[in-house]
Amino acid sequence: MDAVIDNLPLYWDGFQMTLRLTLVSAAVALVLGTLLGAFRVSPVPTLRGFGTVYVELLRNTPLTLVFFFFVFVAPQLDIKLPFETSAYVALSLYTAAFVCEAVRSGVNSVGVGQAEAARAIGLTFGQTMTQVVLPQALRTVVPPLINIFIALTKNTSVAVGFFVTELMAIGIRLANRNPADVIAVLLGVAAFYLVITVPAGILAGRLERKVAFAR
């Protein structure tokens, strides 16, 4: 137990790194994923195709492999990124595929009649989108988005295998240093993850119940 309390500052450093990885990647993935989602519901076949290929490729690739590409393979192609940047890039690109899917299914969940009625009363495309379709789509999209970001928080731990000193890496360093307290040290790491993931999970559940409405 002492091993945990004595090393709280180290834990805190690791936790901050994990938080930074989560927040930055979440922001980038949100923008990129929304753009890809727009591609996938657009009337332009080429863009739709591009969106589909991106999502199918990234969703079926393990995150570890994406990391592996940016850390070991990309330098061979003269794309040399610092380890931390590689982690941001890998996490963002991977998560964007899931954000894209959430956005797409959100837009598709809006009843056809809604957009048709909007056009019938003479709203322009922009008005239809901003006043009828998107407000309804947003309700469906938010809970899955939160779950995607919970998964992202957990996924940042993959960076431990690729030279980024985040929470998990601190945990392993401390475990090696205090062989007698391995259990306590790793439970400490677990507690830090749960501090983010459990409240966020409860929030997602609440929101889901709150925004649920009959269609």
């Binding site: 995150l63 056809v112 731990s157 790793l186 677990a190």
Partner: protein, 284 residues
Amino acid sequence: MSIVLFDAPGPRTRRRVALWSTVAGVLLAALLVLVVVRLAQRGIFDAERWDIFTEDTETWEALLRRGLGATLKAAGLAAVIALTAGALVAVARTSERRWVRVPAAVLIELFRGLPVVLLMFFSALALDLSIFNAVVLGLVLYNTAVIAEILRAGIQSLPRGQREAALAIGLTPGQTMRMILLPQAVRRMLPSLVSQLVVLLKDTSLGYIVGYVELLRVNRELRDFFGSEYIFSLFLVTAALYIGVNFALSRVATYLERRGSSRAAGGVAPLQPAEGVARDSGPV
């Protein structure tokens, strides 16, 4: 095509769409050509970068048997255990008795909220398991929780009459769960379950981080053995193997989803988006 956002296009819109489609296509093709040219300049497509795959079968044997074999072995074992344990925990989670239901809920929330890497490290360092067992246990703990949650959502989405009728004809609560509720929940949730198996398979690659010799680790060993000029070709083949297997599994999920919805009217009661279902429908 999404028909939510626009009407069937007329001739003018069709021309405009075709124009934009061509512009985007040209841009994307240019990007692709640029990448390929850059790769070619680096000699990626030269025969000597690929000879390890054509000259002898040893590379393939290492990749497929030692690599993919180990990946599938860990994933298969973990999947069987997690599905069984997940069903048990789901039953406990929906139990009438508080002292059964609450611990199950806590267990689910706990293990769902932890990274699989942490669970693997915990099994290896704190429980002192062998690396293979640690990888499997890490996968089992996490996926049991997720599968239990999927099945719980399935059980709770069933019409109440199913359970009431079963009890009314004299089945015990245990029989009701085993013979009436669980089979229907599994059928309803089959697409989500298969998607979760894809996640499980992808997560075996975390074994690379804890030191289990699987596909990605073998890929790295081969690179160390043959030299770094093979890094790109080895990566491409490894990625293709992963994507191929996962894509096949994902297709099964899509197929089941389609089959499920087309049959729903006659067979199992139709799926209404119940609380908690949407939440688990997109595993990451």
